[in-house]
Structure formats: C-alpha cells, structure tokens
C-alpha cells in the first residue's frame, strides 16, 4: 500500500535559522515525490518534485529535499527561514492510478 507520513504537525523556527520538515513514504514501487506549500486561503503551490533523477532536488524559494530510498524519506530543508515561509507544507507521493496521496500537512511558524 502507498502512504505518506509527515512526522510533525507543527514546526516553529526563528527567522534566519534552518528549516527541517520531515516526510516518510511507503510505496511498492519507485514513486514521484513532491512538496507543496499553501499560504492561508490560497491554493497549493508546487515547491519541488523528485522523479527518479538526482536524489537532491532543488526547488523554489531556496528549499530543497533529499530522496533517501534506504530510509524511505523525503525531508524538506531550507538553510535560513524567512518570515514569508510561514505556511502549511504538504508532502505528496504518487501518482497511483493518476491520483496523488497527500500527507496531513506541517504548519511552519517563523518567529522574528
């Protein structure tokens, strides 16, 4: 069965400090993996995607994620948080019969 688990429902960081949002997945074959960001009352924006090429994926706004097959993880990182990074982040795996499986989300708070 395919699934995705976001290990933290809330993460709080200070501006200028690193960000780590954790995601583990389960899949019977090599899936595509994505991170999306959602600001309040907005749609989801694609941050980055992994599709079996380079294991370190760089996305927009300075975010990157590393695919680790041995750990079935796809954690999202950023070296230095900015106030504008405060949002909800979704780890997503798929497609499975054209459908994506969404994690439950991690709310990132950034304090000045």
């Amino acid at each position: 069965a395919q699934s995705v688990t976001q290990l933290d429902s809330h993460v709080s960081v200070s501006e200028g400090t690193p960000v780590l949002l954790r995601c583990n997945y389960s899949s019977s074959y090599s899936p595509s993996l994505f991170w999306y960001v959602q600001h309040p009352n907005k749609g989801l924006q694609l941050l980055l995607k992994y599709t079996s090429a380079a294991t370190l994926v760089k996305g927009i706004n300075g975010f990157e994620a590393e695919f680790k097959k041995s750990e079935t993880s796809f954690h999202l990182t950023k070296p230095s948080a900015h106030m504008s990074d405060a949002a909800e982040y979704f780890c997503v795996v798929g497609p499975f019969t054209d459908k994506l499986i969404f994690g439950t989300g991690t709310r990132l708070q950034v304090f000045p």
């Binding site: 595509s32 994505f34 999306y36 009352n41 907005k42 749609g43 989801l44 924006q45 694609l46 995607k49 599709t51 979704f90 798929g94 497609p95 054209d98 459908k99 994506l100 969404f102 994690g103 439950t104 989300g105």
Partner: protein, 111 residues
Amino acid sequence: SQTIHQWPATLVQPVGSPLSLECTVEGTSNPNLYWYRQAAGRGLQLLFYSVGIGQISSEVPQNLSASRPQDRQFILSSKKLLLSDSGFYLCAWRSLGTEQFFGPGTRLTVL
C-alpha cells in the same frame, strides 16, 4: 503558460440550497482535472477526477457531483447543500508530467 481559474472565490450558502463551482484551465489541452476539498484542520480529500470530456470518476460518495462539459472546464455541483459541505474547494490539473497544479480555491460556508 498555463493558468487555472476558480470562481467564485468565496461563497456563503444556506443549508439545502444548490451549488455550482466552476474551474477553467488555459494554455493546455486535454488535461486531467481534479476537485479536492479541504475541511478545517484536515488534509486534502480527492472528490472527483476527469481524464476527458464527460468522463468523471467519483472518489467519495456524497451529495456532490461533477461534470466536464468542455475540455478545460470542470464544474462541481450539489442539489442541496449540507452543513458538512463547508470547506475550501480546490481544482487542479495535470498534463504530461506527474505533478498537479492547483487553482486559487473557493471558500464555501454553509449556514
């Protein structure tokens, strides 16, 4: 470039009233289209998806329905709204890649 539109942006409706939400995509042909609902404090729930005109797959049996009258138009409807239909409705499209692209959403409040 591709653009996805949803309207209305916000909607307040009484229980038992009908619903029609519209989604249109520009700049691509024959996209796969999706309707999701995001209830407060909960993740995304796939409601319907479509791989072509008139082809609708339902993921969750409920009082909602979807239609795709044109290649790049996807409509979400209900004949009688329930309180539990309140939420944030998101339309998305996918073309050649594996990723989906989302619209700005419609905030529906049923009173």
